[in-house]
C-alpha cells in the first residue's frame, strides 16, 4: 500500500515536472512579451479625426513595383513603375501598357498629353501611345530624380540627390536651377534628408516644392525666387508628422493641396493658403510603414493614392455629407 502511494506520488511529480517544462518551452507568457521600451507607434497611428472621403474599390495595375501616378480630367490614369507604364480608364480597365527600360521613379503629363517620366538619373518623354520622343542626358552624378512637373513649355525636375529643382525647356535644355542656397536672394535652400522631394504646378501655373526637411510647401517664381511657404511639423492632424514630410503632394483644380505623409501614413486636403480642410485617409487605411504615397487628382473630385505596399491605386471620393 505504502509502495503504491509512493509510486502514485512519483508519477504525479513527474507529470507536474513535464507540464512545467512544456509550459516553459511552448507557452507565450504576456509579461515576457511586453516591451518596456515600446515607442508607442500604435497610439500614434490612431486618430480621432473622421475622414471626409470614402474609399472606392482600388485599381490593381498589372505593373509590379509601381512608384507614380498621374491623372487627367477625362478620367484616364497613368501609372509608372519598374519597367513599364500603364494607362487605365476611370473604372480601372487597362487601355494601354508599354515597357520602358529601367525604373520610373515619377511621371507627369504635359498639357498636350506628352508623358514626362523621371528615371532615377534622367528624364524621358513618351507619347501616350507608347512611342519614345526623347531621352535626356543624366542630370548629374549622384542625382536621384523623385518628381517631375510640367507646364506647356517647361519641365521641372526635383533631384533629391542634389537637393535642387531643375527647370528645362521641353527639349531638355537647362533653363534654371531652383532652390539653391543663396543668402543674397534670401533662398535658404532645400533640406532633403531622404528621397522624398515632390514638385507640382498649380492650376494658375505656380511652382510648388515640398521642402521636407523644413516640413513645408514652398512657392517659387519661375526664376527661382522664394515667394511664400506654409506648413509646420506636428503630430497633430493640421501639421506634418516630422521628417521628411509631406512626402508627396498634388494640387487640385481649385488650387487646394492634397498631401501624404510617411511615418504616420495620412492623406489630407489643405486650402490654397495652407489651412487644414479634411482628412482623406488616416493611418488605419494603410499598412504600417508604407512610404511613397504618390498622389494625383482624378476626374470628378477623386483623389488617387498610389499605395506601394499593396501595389494598388486607392481611390477616394468626397463624402456626400461633406
Amino acid at each position: 500500500m505504502k509502495k503504491k502511494t509512493i509510486l502514485i506520488f512519483a508519477i504525479m511529480l513527474f507529470l507536474v515536472f513535464v507540464a512545467w517544462m512544456l509550459r516553459d518551452l511552448f507557452m507565450v507568457r504576456p509579461e515576457l512579451q511586453k516591451n518596456p521600451y515600446d515607442y508607442g507607434m500604435t497610439a500614434l497611428r490612431k486618430t480621432d479625426t473622421v475622414p471626409s472621403y470614402t474609399e472606392l474599390s482600388p485599381l490593381k495595375p498589372v505593373l509590379r513595383e509601381i512608384t507614380s501616378v498621374a491623372g487627367n480630367q477625362d478620367g484616364k490614369i497613368y501609372i509608372a513603375g519598374k519597367g513599364g507604364v500603364e494607362i487605365l480608364d476611370v473604372s480601372g480597365r487597362m487601355l494601354k501598357h508599354f515597357p520602358i527600360r529601367g525604373y520610373a521613379t515619377c511621371l507627369t503629363l504635359m498639357p498636350d498629353g506628352t508623358l514626362v517620366i523621371g528615371m532615377e538619373d534622367h528624364v524621358e518623354l513618351w507619347s501616350p501611345s507608347g512611342n519614345i520622343i526623347s531621352v535626356w542626358q543624366a542630370v548629374d552624378t549622384n542625382s536621384m530624380i523623385t518628381s517631375v512637373a510640367a507646364t506647356q513649355n517647361l519641365i521641372f525636375v526635383a533631384d533629391a540627390g542634389k537637393k535642387i529643382v531643375y527647370q528645362y525647356d521641353r527639349y531638355g535644355k537647362l533653363q534654371a536651377r531652383i532652390g539653391e542656397k543663396d543668402p543674397v536672394r534670401k533662398i535658404p535652400g532645400f533640406i532633403i534628408p531622404s528621397p522624398y522631394f515632390d514638385v507640382g504646378i498649380s492650376p494658375k501655373g505656380e511652382l510648388w516644392v515640398a521642402n521636407t526637411g523644413r516640413y513645408r510647401l514652398e512657392k517659387y517664381s519661375m526664376d527661382g525666387s522664394l515667394l511664400t511657404s506654409w506648413g509646420e511639423a506636428s503630430m497633430a492632424m493640421e501639421g506634418f508628422a516630422g521628417c521628411c514630410n509631406p512626402s508627396n503632394f498634388t494640387i487640385l483644380p481649385d488650387g487646394s493641396f492634397v498631401t501624404s505623409e510617411k511615418g504616420i501614413e495620412r492623406v489630407k486636403v489643405y486650402s490654397p493658403d495652407g489651412a487644414f480642410v479634411a482628412l482623406v485617409a488616416g493611418p488605419e487605411a494603410f499598412d504600417e510603414g508604407t512610404r511613397g504615397l504618390d498622389l494625383a487628382a482624378g476626374s470628378n473630385g477623386r483623389i488617387l493614392v498610389l499605395d506601394p505596399s499593396r501595389n494598388q491605386i486607392r481611390v477616394f471620393v468626397p463624402d456626400k455629407r461633406n
Binding site: 518596456p36 515607442y39 507607434m41 533640406i191 534628408p193 526637411g213 516630422g242 521628417c243 511615418g263
Partner: protein, 195 residues
C-alpha cells in the same frame, strides 16, 4: 512483472532514453539557430552572433534578454544614411515642440544620444555606448520617420559570444544569426566604417 521482465523493461527504457538523447543532440546540431552543421549555409572559421537590422522589429528584448548588464547590443549609427535632421525622430519624443536637449524631450530612456550642432539646420547624433542599453526606441523612431540610420548591433568587444545567445533564442523576428568573425557587422547602408 517477474524479475526477468523488469530487467528487460529497464534495459529497453535506457536504450530509448539514449536514443532520444542522441536524436536531440543531432537535431540541435543540425537545426540550431544560426550555425547549421551541414548545408550551404555552413560557414568555416570562427563565428559570432549578430542581428540583421532589416529583420529587427525593436521588440525590446535586446535590452532585457542579454546575459550582460547593460546589454552587449547597442545602438549604432550609419552616418552615411543620416539626414542630420534638426527634428530627429530618433532623438526627440514624438510630440516635442521645442527642439532642445532637455532630458524630458529625449526619447532615449538613458540619454545616451548626444546632439551636436553642425550648421543651420543640421545636427549630428552620436551614441554614448557606455550608457546605451540597446532598447531600440531610437531605432524605431528613426526608422519610422527618418532614414533608419540608427540601427541595433551586437558590439563584439562587449559580447561574451555565448554558445546559446539568450537574445537569439527569444528574438521574435529571427534577426539573430552567426556571422563570420572577419565580417561581424550587418549594418544597412555604408556605415560599417563608423563603428
Amino acid at each position: 512483472m517477474d524479475k526477468q521482465n523488469r530487467r528487460q523493461f529497464i534495459r529497453t527504457g535506457i536504450r530509448w532514453i539514449l536514443f532520444g538523447g542522441m536524436a536531440l543532440v543531432a537535431g540541435d546540431l543540425i537545426f540550431r539557430k544560426g550555425e547549421p552543421l551541414f548545408g550551404k549555409n555552413r560557414k568555416s572559421g570562427p563565428t559570432v552572433w549578430q542581428l540583421d537590422p532589416a529583420k529587427c522589429i525593436q521588440c525590446g528584448r535586446c535590452a532585457t534578454n542579454c546575459v550582460k548588464t547593460p546589454s552587449a547590443v547597442k545602438c549604432t549609427h550609419a552616418y552615411s544614411m543620416c539626414g542630420y535632421c534638426n527634428l530627429c525622430s530618433g532623438y526627440f519624443k514624438p510630440e516635442t515642440k521645442t527642439l532642445d536637449t532637455g532630458a524630458e524631450k529625449q526619447l532615449c530612456p538613458v540619454s545616451a544620444i548626444k546632439r551636436t550642432f553642425v550648421e543651420d539646420p543640421f545636427y549630428e547624433y552620436t551614441i554614448d555606448e557606455a550608457l546605451c542599453i540597446g532598447c531600440g526606441k531610437c531605432v524605431k523612431g528613426c526608422g519610422a520617420f527618418g532614414n533608419g540610420s540608427l540601427q541595433l548591433q551586437v558590439r563584439h568587444h562587449l559580447c561574451d559570444n555565448c554558445n546559446d545567445c539568450s537574445i537569439a533564442r527569444n528574438c521574435p523576428s529571427g534577426a539573430f544569426s552567426r556571422v563570420q568573425l572577419t565580417d561581424p557587422y550587418l549594418l544597412k547602408g555604408f556605415g560599417k566604417k563608423n563603428l
